[in-house]
Symmetry: C2
Amino acid sequence: MNYNTPISLQNFNVSNGFWKDRMELIRKNVLLYQWDILNDRVEDAAPSYCMRNFRIAAMMNQKRKELGDAFEEPKYSFKPGDEWPKDPDNLEETFYGCVFQDSDFSKWIEAVAFSLANHPDEELERVADEAIDIVCAAQLENGYLDSHYIIKGMDGSFKNLKDHHELYCFGHLLEGAVAYYQATGKEKLLNAAIRFADHVNEHFGTEEGKCNGYPGHEVAEMALVKLYEVTGNEKYLNLSRYFIDQRGQKPYYWDNESEYFGFEWKEQEHYEYYQAHRPVRQQEEAVGHSVRATYLYSGMADVARLTDDEELKTACRKLWNSTVREKTYITGAIGGTKEGEAFSFPFDLPNDLAYAETCAAIGLVFFARRMLQMEVKAEYADVMERALYNCVLSGMDLEGKRFFYVNPLEVLPEACHKDRRKEHVLPVRPKWFGCACCPPNLARLISSVPSYAYAENEDTLFMHLHMAGTVVKKVGDKEAVFAVKTDMPENGNVEIAYTAQEPAAMKLAVRIPGWCENWGVSGTEAFHCTEKDGYYYIEGVFTENDKICFVFEMKPCFYQADSRVREDIGKVALMKGPVVYCAEERDNTDSLHLYRVMPQENAEETEVIINGEAFPALKLKAAKMVADNAQRTLYTKYRNVQYEEAVLTMIPYYAWANRGENEMMVWFAES
Amino acid sequence: MNYNTPISLQNFNVSNGFWKDRMELIRKNVLLYQWDILNDRVEDAAPSYCMRNFRIAAMMNQKRKELGDAFEEPKYSFKPGDEWPKDPDNLEETFYGCVFQDSDFSKWIEAVAFSLANHPDEELERVADEAIDIVCAAQLENGYLDSHYIIKGMDGSFKNLKDHHELYCFGHLLEGAVAYYQATGKEKLLNAAIRFADHVNEHFGTEEGKCNGYPGHEVAEMALVKLYEVTGNEKYLNLSRYFIDQRGQKPYYWDNESEYFGFEWKEQEHYEYYQAHRPVRQQEEAVGHSVRATYLYSGMADVARLTDDEELKTACRKLWNSTVREKTYITGAIGGTKEGEAFSFPFDLPNDLAYAETCAAIGLVFFARRMLQMEVKAEYADVMERALYNCVLSGMDLEGKRFFYVNPLEVLPEACHKDRRKEHVLPVRPKWFGCACCPPNLARLISSVPSYAYAENEDTLFMHLHMAGTVVKKVGDKEAVFAVKTDMPENGNVEIAYTAQEPAAMKLAVRIPGWCENWGVSGTEAFHCTEKDGYYYIEGVFTENDKICFVFEMKPCFYQADSRVREDIGKVALMKGPVVYCAEERDNTDSLHLYRVMPQENAEETEVIINGEAFPALKLKAAKMVADNAQRTLYTKYRNVQYEEAVLTMIPYYAWANRGENEMMVWFAES
């Protein structure tokens, strides 16, 4: 099989440029800040309770061991009112926060691991080891490790798979453990994860006497694949496949789950929300909670690839097409509606009501990379790049200290404050959330971006994204080394120099970006070159001082949406390369809806200073409607609308909302 | 004081034309059908339980009388689960349906009364008398008459003024009773209403020992004014003024109400919903539930006029301006959001998410008429006419058997079915609703349209709307009689003939419609004519065969919205006279959003057959975007969009959704 895998983070040394800056931001500003958050030490931020819960669970565990049979197991009870502690200093109290609070640690430790792999840091590693000690102390003898049930009563465990995120926390723990092991070689957390996975594996399955349920919130599927890949133990791959194929089988497992709680699920008919309305192989439309969906699809793509399951691959392709051809914003955001934080119906992509959750764009990046592992086609990388440069980065402010859940494409602050339909849309990023899935998710993704940019198989190095740095690839028993220089996304020049002393016979596959119409390459005379599925393959013997230069023409360019997207009809959006631009009131005037742009005119490149830093900006000739409103009536007879010449200054979408509340728009009517 | 009052329905004999047809529809198809509905005799329609509740209350009353002190009063309990009977045939059971179910009878009897005043009908009157007997049998000795509390326990009475609609039902009962007395001269229901009003009057007020609360859902304010006008008893006017001025005073009365129920109102901060956030004289913006708002404003305008209260008049004018200059759709609909069935913030008027409740447009008609009574200015009548011809009539199908709550300006059926944000928007009218405020409200308004068209004071007859028929006005001890011929809204010709044998010295005031730019009048040579505030005043001695002819030019005409209405930017809507036109998929193609219209071009008048009946229609030259969608991506580089020539056929908005589910749009992008 000719699949590919992401390069190990240790084999890439990011040199400079766009992603280096962001990875450094995560390393310097975000990781220790988030550690403070997880320990409830940041004023004015919603408390996390995450590490507090692990500490309480560990204390109870200690008592368990000391008292033996005399320990009185708590009787499980779940009252939503229990979410906030009465006495925050009293560690004897119960579990606080959302049921999935443990996962904040797991995503954080994963981010830390990625960062350590890129950039060793003793102090950070010490903090991480300390955190791992606390978490592992909470683990039960039988391997179980979810603080919610350990604290509140194990009799409730695995009783509400649908909504209580137990297998979600399990999955994230596995991912964190695998990453930390890969980065540091330390096995403590990995062993804890293996013990937990073995426990889960004992419990679930179609065999007689086992529980034939599956996760309400997916992630364990892809996490188990990672555990399989690092341990080589096929039972984890099999458990993942079991979770995937059991999903949505009739009779629905969750129907009976509700009996334990003494009531029927009200949402029985809403299993679409969970992608559990039918078996996954029969699903053709991306539906329901969009983060869950992409996590499931990612796991499906992993299992399809590793088991060479053509039927499952076909299902993945259909769900990919449904997602990106009918339900993705130009920013790579998904989730058109706040109702269920979900996909809306095909082509329903409202700009101002969008849910467009940061985590869902991250999930789309996961899904895209796994489709790329299955088959190297530029369309997957195009979407991955679109999401990374736009919706994903929009989730965080420029200092890495404030975060968006929701990344709309049009904001009128007055509407955010006064219109309950838009109460999910915030005009500025808050510091943290009670349900804080997005911030650590961002940290772990950005820290691991090189593993999305570069992948390899036995004889080929794939460059999916053009990212500056030094990449090392094993070719037989030799090491091929490439030094990549690029200022992407500032311009489209990419220089790839072979820097190892020993030559290597191999292939280099460089993606030709979907946004690029004209491109050229030089330095390939000695190689056999072919183009396939949007990739340029350069095959031959690379020797020191070989230098291959790509020039991908990158001009500001207007885009239009499929005409079935009603909200964008007659409108255009501006991009430069992979970066979507937006206009903010701050650089223009208010009432951005009065502007019309002229897509035939060229945009002028300039800069805008935001928080003391220069950002690329584009200036456009535009027309602004002269507001000539009657004083007495809302509606007047049509008269030729007057426009005045105007200039519209647009900034990268990822940099919006860093200067206080103001209007923002991506799509503009064309003049 | 030079105020005016609506003409008595007995003094107008509708001859033919637009409104005659609709009044006849109500008389023939709606009233007895609604009587069946109120008695739960219509299959497939949500049960009303209205008359069933009165019957049970009457039975309990009978027992009360028979048993005397031995009667065991029920202990009040309110469980929302009680809404539907377990055994629908067992009349011994409890109250069913919404707490305000009584009001359906009251609105129905009012509609019946208006119809009888226009068109005596023995059979209908017999049914009405029978209904009144049932209702009056439920009245307690002390005058109290609300079946909900009579059945469920009087100890709960007046304990939840905020939400349990007790004073709302009270108000509607007064309105029904006054109308029935005015139409038939029969006093039974009026006397019941007076006894109830006296009971309420004893209970409420600022005096020591009285309850200083006020209605959660307004209507009693204007109802008490009607009772005052028919009885001449000032205590009812005073009670109305008390309710108005007590509203929103601090400390908030409702805050303490919640104690009775053992919990705090969650919505304490949401008194805006009830227009009770501050005293009404300090309110400047129309906020909250839009039906409640217009009912309150109507009562305020009544009291301001009758007490010549300048401060209250000023408050009314401010609220009027806020409503119509910032928060009214071109169809006369109000209520931009389903969240609280409420006004959204100024200029937030989304076409597809609109709430635009039928009852709210009806409320706007009430408010407009009362502003007209306060001061004769055409702007009030313009809004009244806009609401009547468009949003109000849209509330009912062409047969009078199906009803809309919500009257959007743009409908995509797929969105209604799949987008929970639009679950309130229905693409076709249902037969009835569990909460059925709109259908009987429509019946009573349409039956009484002449009293909105014509008004009078001592020496002047006002023609606010141009409606065909014969109108009689007392002038001193003589009767002036005018025969009005018009095909409005088909064309703008209005002929007013004086037909009484005896001459009369008086004034005729005819509104010059706001939509009319060119108009002429003939036959006024012998009169002194002046124009003021949009009315043409014709003063002199009218003698038999005087004939005054107005020609109000009425051409199809495009309108644009105030540029602060973001949802309508770059768009136009088509009207002819007061009638808004819309396009339906049925007469065109699907994907109505692809059409662009050319507001410089003239529309061609034609007809469309709907349910076998010819309706005026307008054909427009239009351009339809050629949908040239890429197969692989949602977003493509901008290329000149291609349009093909197309014709757009538009029908009156009031006739939409009579041919099954299909797309509909009012606002079109201009080419």
